[in-house]
């Protein structure tokens, strides 16, 4: 079992985001999280990354309380690809990807051969290799997000957390990186927790879906089971048809109108 959240409550300057929120996230699945804006998706990520502490309740990760891990241990286990990213100095792309190796390196040691090899491998896999010697400040939004993605993969996490990680990418790179994540998930027994805005993209890759609305779990389970027009109507207030698409072998949604 990956994460267990038990009766977690969290409020942000007076407004309740979660109250008695409970959820299990398995360690070896590709889990998608969907829900309307402001439903608490990003706060959920902050809580499981320990960027915020719950006011009450317990979060355990791999059967130990999340709070018992050191920051460095967590950084070796869990990697985040954020939704917004700014890089304030003209670091080269390869330097940014190398930063993913920092949790595995001691303070002063130069990168080892295996670190360099890992960074190179990830840059090839993510298609960043031709950007390697360019300053990140010169890249387009989508390119920069790819670099940030590569940095997270270089961390070799056991748990990869994607916070709308493909939002700025073109369709080719979105599919390419999500396929890569699926491949690494199978090969490395990695868990993935991914927040999506695009429900069809989520449906293509996620084994499980969690639907959150107003700080509570509306549905949780295998994608084919969770993805129902009634649930989409209730949560997003849209009329939608869910069907199985032969072409990409996954459940897909078409929308008619919002109500």
């Amino acid at each position: 079992m990956g994460y267990i959240l038990e009766r977690v409550s969290f409020s942000y300057s007076g407004t309740n985001v979660f109250k008695d929120f409970s959820l299990n996230l398995k360690a070896d699945r590709f889990i998608g999280i969907i829900g309307p804006n402001g439903c608490g998706k990003t706060t959920l990520i902050d809580l499981i990354m320990r960027l915020q502490k719950p006011q009450s309740g317990h979060i355990t990760y791999l059967e130990k309380p999340l709070s018992s891990y050191s920051k460095k241990e967590l950084a070796r286990q869990i990697a985040l690809v954020p939704q917004t990213y700014s890089i304030n100095f003209p670091f080269l792309v390869k330097e940014v990807v190398m930063m993913g190796r920092y949790p595995h390196m001691s303070r002063f040691s130069a990168p080892l051969a295996e670190d360099l090899a890992k960074v190179k491998e990830i840059m090839v896999q993510t298609g960043c290799i031709e950007l390697a010697h360019r300053p990140v400040t010169e890249l387009s939004g989508g390119e920069r997000q790819r670099v940030v993605f590569a940095r997270a993969l270089a961390q070799e996490p056991k748990m990869l957390i994607l916070d709308e990680a493909t939002a700025n990418m073109d369709i080719h790179h979105s599919l390419h990186l999500l396929q890569l994540v699926v491949k690494m998930q199978c090969e490395n027994k990695m868990g993935v927790v991914a927040v999506f805005q695009d429900i069809n993209l989520a449906a293509m890759y996620c084994q499980d879906l969690v639907v959150i609305s107003k700080g509570r779990v509306v549905a949780d389970g295998p994608t084919s089971f969770v993805l129902q027009s009634e649930i989409l109507l209730e949560v997003f207030h849209v009329q939608a048809k869910v069907y199985f698409e032969d072409y990409n072998q996954s459940h897909q949604v078409v929308f008619r109108q919002c109500i």
Binding site: L80, R107, Q155
Partner: protein, 338 residues
Amino acid sequence: MGLQFCILTILLAVGAVISTGMGYLNISWKEILRIVMAKFTGNDMLLSQMDPILTTVVVDVRLPRILTSLAVGGGLAICGTVFQAILLNPLADPYTLGVSAGAAFGAALAIILNMSFAGTYSTTLMAFVGAVTTLIIVIYLSANAGGLSSNNLILSGIIVTAILSAGISFLKYLADEQVGIIIFWLMGSFASRTWTDATLISVAVIIGLIIFLVFARDLNLLSLGKRVASSLGVSTGKVTLIMLIVASLLAAACVSVSGIIGFVGLLVPHLMRGLTGPDNLRLLPVTFLAGAILLLIADTITRAILPHEVPIGILTALIGGPFFCYVFRQRQTRRREF
């Protein structure tokens, strides 16, 4: 890092020897090396055929001054690098949090009240106290539940600096004949620094540099934003606070011994970032050396080349400013973003 670091180290060493030889008395580099060797090894035989006045000039007058200028230059430059990295703002410099205004106010107060509780070091000590008090006030003003945000820090620094500047103007207005001393102190000088000054500031700068290097990679990660830095194992709040305090204390120490020397802390990190890239582990040692070289040159010009001593703060701004404009413009035409 290897090559740039070596070249700058050699430049610094050669520059220091040449500078020691320059001045009212011209001393050849061979004589300087012999004097230094003699003092290091305690072997006075090396000095046997030399005019003892040369030894006095080199050991008691020029070396402490030169060493102080090197340490202050290096110190201000690494402080600037660290401030720019924590505040994520290329316009930040060691004085962003009002350390200079605090030091100036403290020094002006000491001068106007003729304080002499610590002998000749009273002004230096009061400057340091003023700088540290300012730092505490600025951090208190900008701290909130979410930790220290860089906008809050910059804003608090500006407000406190504005208040203190008015205070300094008021002190100058009250000062009568001491106003000249205050103005001269404010513009910075390395004249008549002693071995005590040189030793204290060198130790402070070396300790500061070591602490900065320990956190250099954390500073790199902070440039990815607090959330990501935290996910990569950095205790962002703690690191920010430690770096701010150490950098401000070091800047305060520099200002206290030399007065307010502008531009080094802003200019050198920028120039060196263009050379080494923004990786702080490589950048910090190189900015340290470059800052030391810059102030060595500026101090040598005012001490040995110009007919009259010009305050070094004026000189660094007059030389550094236009040079910075040139480099800045060059970069604008080459790159879209700075």
